[in-house]
């Protein structure tokens, strides 16, 4: 038996390594995705007042802290038993759109565009954002612009780009000045233009990735997302689960998640594997994120995004199980977010000065759900009568995708790795499968592996016979 280790997996957000197992004839027999970090947020919050949860739990992730702030605050809203004033809801939504927009820009431009524009086999020295920059400066400049727009909007409203303490139980800290409107409107329109231009570029390279579309975690799975009235929804709505062909399998209220989802632990990873209870483990494999959201929603509910959605569906079909198309789905969602930001900024209710409801502890339990850039995010807390947290459970977007990532790298490894012929570009493809999911591992393990890329040859007793470094 031979084992190939890719460590660390790069251009993803977190710590991970991949093992690929070869049998005696050199065929791939198994593949595993190991997440190597665990921080224990579900425990370390114990004994703290629930009002601290949003800003503490946001520290699970510096890329999507806003989604954590929102899910945590919504769980706290439940504990207080309050209805958040409409301005508070609108502002929370705007900040979340801003964040999904910036995070998608990070994933697409900073992390994945080297594979997409330079090719999976490009030399390792060039296969990064600097390499793309040298080749196509305006493309990267657009990426920087999009990410900066999202981050600046978060800062304008929340006073800080990363970990703004502004989203709190009951709503948001303070009202928003109407004077910010014009500038943001203008820049949001620029974002739409830039995203459209990027879609053109992406579509022009897409024919070269036929194999990647077919073999990068192209597997039949269930899909899960929040949705409302058949449209994309990141904040309200019910949780929908559809089968691989697109039929609605389940629909439930976020607070009922426990009846439908369970989590399995595998000893090779600190990342748990959630699955659908009714289908069991591992058949209850499902995915979340941009691809799943576009599968579940009939339409986006915004003009330009809907036009682009129908063009996207010419490639993807009405339902797609090709993880590679997450890249495309992200671009459609960037447009959707920009349009939604404009829509909410033109809603007078956004600027009403009452932004926060106040109350003490009225219930001893609360569940909060929000769509994060990478998919559905669930926070669940139990408190005592004084509001001191006793227990917490978090199911993070990337966690939902764990089974699919494992199955996906096995599929790609079987396709691209054969015997001793291990080309660097092939291994990059295996990593690129993971990048399709844009996993946020610091997030998902709420919870560095640093070994060089290494091929270990291990005999059947597990003794190491040979080690090849690259």
């Amino acid at each position: 038996m031979k084992k190939i280790t890719i460590d660390p997996v790069t251009r993803i957000e977190g710590h991970a390594k991949i093992s690929i197992y070869l049998d005696d004839s050199g065929e791939v027999s198994d593949a595993r995705f190991h997440v190597t970090q665990y921080r224990g947020f579900e425990k370390l919050c114990e004994g703290r007042p629930f009002t601290e949860m949003p800003r503490l739990m946001a520290r699970t992730c510096g890329i999507c802290p806003v989604s954590h702030l929102i899910a945590a605050s919504k769980a706290c809203d439940e504990i207080m038993g309050v209805k958040v004033p409409i301005a508070g809801v609108n502002i929370r939504k705007i900040i979340n759109y801003a964040q999904i927009l910036q995070s998608h820009a990070l994933s697409f431009f900073y992390l994945s565009s080297p594979d997409l524009l330079l090719g999976m086999d490009a030399p390792i020295e060039e296969r990064n954002i600097v390499g793309v920059l040298n080749r196509k400066k305006d493309f990267i400049e657009n990426g920087i612009f999009l990410r900066k727009f999202g981050q600046m909007l978060i800062e304008k409203l929340g006073r800080k780009r990363i970990h703004p303490d502004y989203i709190v139980p009951g709503g948001v800290e303070s009202p928003v000045e109407e004077s910010i409107k014009d500038e943001i409107n203008e820049n949001a329109r620029l974002c739409i233009d830039k995203a459209l231009y990027t879609i053109d570029t992406f579509r022009s390279v897409l024919p070269a990735f036929e194999e990647e579309i077919r073999y990068f975690s192209h597997i039949p799975t269930y899909h899960m997302a929040l949705s409302k009235d058949g449209k994309i929804e990141y904040y309200d709505g019910d949780i929908y689960i559809i089968d691989p062909e697109g039929r609605i399998e389940l629909k439930f209220k976020p607070e009922e998640y426990n009846n439908y989802i369970s989590e399995r632990v595998e000893g090779f990873s600190y990342l748990k594997s959630p699955y659908l209870k009714i289908k069991g483990y591992p058949d209850g494999i499902y995915r979340v994120g941009p691809l799943s959201r576009l599968n579940i929603a009939e339409s986006c509910g915004a003009e330009v995004a809907d036009r682009e959605l129908s063009i996207y569906r010419e490639v993807a079909g009405r339902i797609s199980n090709a993880a590679f198309l997450n890249h495309y789905a992200r671009l459609v969602e960037i447009i959707f977010c920009a349009e939604k930001i404009i829509e909410l900024l033109n809603d007078d209710a956004t600027f009403v000065t009452h932004t926060k409801a106040n109350a003490g502890v009225n219930f001893e339990e609360g569940v909060g759900v929000s769509e994060a850039p990478r998919g559905t995010l669930i926070h669940h807390y139990k408190v005592d009568r004084n509001g001191i947290v006793q227990w917490a459970n978090l199911i993070i977007a990337t966690g939902h995708n764990n089974l699919a990532m494992n199955k996906g790298i096995l599929q790609a490894a079987k396709r691209f790795v054969k015997g001793d012929d291990i080309k660097e570009g092939f291994l990059n493809r295996i990593e690129a499968v993971i990048r399709c999911y844009d996993p946020c591992l610091s997030c998902s393990t709420h919870a560095v592996g640093k070994m060089p890329m290494m091929v270990e040859i291990v005999n059947n007793k597990g003794e190491r016979l040979k080690e090849v470094r690259r």
Partner: protein, 176 residues
Amino acid sequence: MKKKLATVWLDGCSGCHMSFLDIDERLLEVLQFFDIVYSPLVDFKEFPESVDVTFVEGAVSTTEDIKKIKEIRKKSSIIVAMGDCAITGNVPSMRNSFKLNSVIDRGYAENSDKHNKVEFFDVPPLLTNVLPVNAIIHVNYYLPGCPPPADAFYNLIKSILNQEKFDVFQHTRFGK
């Protein structure tokens, strides 16, 4: 000759790395003076033999983190502890007030379907206590904040480049 820059990620939330990227288009300017030789942003899997400046995010929380940070110290001229996690242990070290087993059990026994203990393998063992980076190695610069603001990064890099003195509290502070 361009200088060599590395960024490493121990037990943190990636917020410090993101704040670094928040220098936005000034990144292009930084790239004129530095090559990124190791980072989650590039594909090199091995830490190079000699690096001019290494930014470290996050606390030390596994046996592998210890090994890694020692190796990085040997190979880096300047090490910057970026962010409160690297400097004080911050959020990751909040688990130190619990027994490690109870932290693991909450995540993997209580909050899972089987409710039993799991033997982990092929992942680095967790330390009983999370430590700040300077508990293991000597640190040259401290850049506090959770995360430190983008301007602080930019100004520190400029000061290092121009060999000027850097007054950290002009730009950031703990808990900022």
